[in-house]
């Protein structure tokens, strides 16, 4: 699964076509899985992806949501500003075959926080990670099991998924907040 991806300019990242590729690859993963795949979207961009995948893959029940806010390592400097989404795991987490879904993998700190959050609810059998875009610059030993695209951006830029009212996904680039 970990074939090296060629880096693309961020301006060429088409979220909708990347999503279609993600869907295709997840279809194969779900078909091969020994136990039910439980999708868990990472707030906030990953939640849209997970809900959409859940429907498009025809999986039973609804996708889970996981928030990193309770385990963030920058709480003392950034506070609780991002606490709008709460973790919701509508399935038994103990023994579950979890696929975390996120839009962008970057430093790896969110994934570290999310893993801690997940384990506060129980002990999954396995946790894997699928993302649309891997932008490198890892600060922790975290890798995605499935990344659809790679893009190198300077640290001063924030790559963020947004969703229009009709549900279309687009990537936007903004200046990193101070």
């Amino acid at each position: 699964m970990n074939t090296p991806l060629k880096a693309r300019p961020a301006s060429e990242l088409n979220a909708e076509s990347l999503y279609q590729e993600l869907l295709q690859q997840m279809r194969v993963i779900v078909a091969k899985a020994d136990s039910p795949v439980r999708l868990v979207g990472i707030a906030s961009g990953g939640v849209w992806l997970a809900h959409r995948l859940q429907a498009d893959l025809g999986l039973e029940g609804s996708a889970g949501v996981v928030s990193s806010s309770m385990h963030r390592d920058d709480f003392s400097t950034r506070g609780l500003s991002s606490m709008s989404v709460q973790t919701q795991l509508p399935f038994e987490i103990n023994g579950a075959n979890v696929w975390l879904i996120d839009d962008v993998l970057y430093t790896g700190r969110t994934i570290r926080a999310v893993l801690n959050e997940l384990f506060d609810y129980g002990r999954p059998a396995a946790v894997k990670l699928a993302v649309l875009v891997d932008r490198g610059q890892r600060e922790l030993p975290v890798e995605a099991n499935l990344a659809i695209a790679r893009s190198d951006l300077p640290a001063t830029q924030l790559l963020e998924l947004s969703r229009t009212e009709d549900g279309q996904l687009t990537f936007g680039i903004e200046a990193t907040p101070e």
Partner: protein, 320 residues
């Protein structure tokens, strides 16, 4: 930059101490309630703890006894992974003659991060807040007759939980308003959050006249006071504070102001009944009401933990 700053806020308008609901904006109050929503579910987790205050020390300084409030602060701090030190000041240094600020200096030297203070003197938490280092936070757990902001916030959380929002609500606060810091903090919070009809209900001897200036309507008749209200907050008759002949007797109070199922029919059919606890059955509230379907008194206790977690985590994330 304001010239005279609210001592609870830093220069960016962020909450650094919680001393009173008075003078806090709707945004600050709403942020506390919204943050608390996130903490309610922590008790449903297999691991009932989040690490937001890991490595921080919370000192519970209770110069006046209160097992329940101290316990809920203790649980809230523990669920945030803080280390909690409970000091029964009433029985230690103060009784040996040490001044309040000397006590604080000594505890600060033991690397306290948050002081949770209850004191029988109004204003004691303000004095401490002005004295401590910029990274140390003070949460008022009740001072004299002045304020009990976390109780008011958990009351607001409970009202919002059951009634949605404040814009069309009628709320009656019934009983010993005179001695009640809960009543004062609730009136400030309710009016700030946009509640259009706040009533204070009780005998003239127990309802101070200045309540109208705070935005509450004074009613000396219970029927008038709770007619058509959505929320009834019964206050505890503060026996231990009752010096002087303000009331003939507790029984006399119940006769005129006690909440009974019959009298609750004057309120809206879906009205909720709240009480800060501990309740005096048969004094301010009949058992049939306290244990009845309209009572949300135990929900208040549960929400109180989440609200105190929210307050401590918010103040801890801001420096002076």
């Amino acid at each position: 930059m304001r010239i005279q700053r609210n001592p609870q806020l830093n220069a960016n308008g962020e909450l650094i101490h919680l001393l009173s609901t008075e003078g806090l904006s709707k945004d600050v109050l709403t942020n506390i309630l919204d943050t608390a929503t996130n903490f309610v579910s922590v008790s449903d987790r297999e691991v009932k703890k989040v690490p937001l205050l890991r490595g921080k020390s919370v000192f519970n300084l209770f110069f006046e006894n209160s097992t329940r409030t101290r316990t809920t602060f203790d649980i809230a701090a523990t669920r945030l992974s803080a280390d909690v030190i409970n000091l029964d000041i009433a029985r230690s240094s103060a009784s040996k003659g040490e001044s309040l600020l000397d006590t604080i200096d000594n505890l600060s030297a033991m690397a306290a991060d948050i002081f949770v203070v209850r004191h029988n003197e109004s204003g004691a938490p303000y004095l401490i807040a002005q004295h401590v280092a910029p990274h140390v936070h003070v949460v008022n757990a009740g001072d004299g007759r002045h304020a009990h902001p976390t109780q008011a916030l958990l009351d607001m959380y409970t009202i919002r939980h059951f009634k949605g929002d404040f814009s069309n609500l009628s709320v009656a606060i019934v009983g010993d308003v005179l001695h009640s810091r809960v009543a004062r903090s609730n009136i400030h919070a309710l009016t700030t959050l946009g509640c259009p009809d706040v009533r204070v209900v009780g005998p003239k001897t127990l309802v101070p006249g200045d309540m109208a200036q705070m935005g509450a309507r004074v009613c000396n008749d219970l029927r008038e006071g709770i007619s058509g209200v959505d929320v009834v907050i019964a206050l505890r008759l503060q026996n231990e504070r009752m010096s002087g002949a303000l009331l003939p007797s507790a029984q006399e109070f119940f006769k005129s102001y006690g909440l009974t199922p019959e009298r609750m029919q004057w309120a809206k059919p879906d009205a909720i009944v709240m009480h800060p606890g501990p309740i005096n059955r048969g004094v301010e509230i009949a058992s049939a009401v306290a244990d009845g379907p309209q009572a949300v008194i135990l929900s208040q206790v549960t929400f109180g933990i989440a609200v105190r977690m929210a307050v401590m985590s918010i103040v801890a994330s801001h420096d002076a």
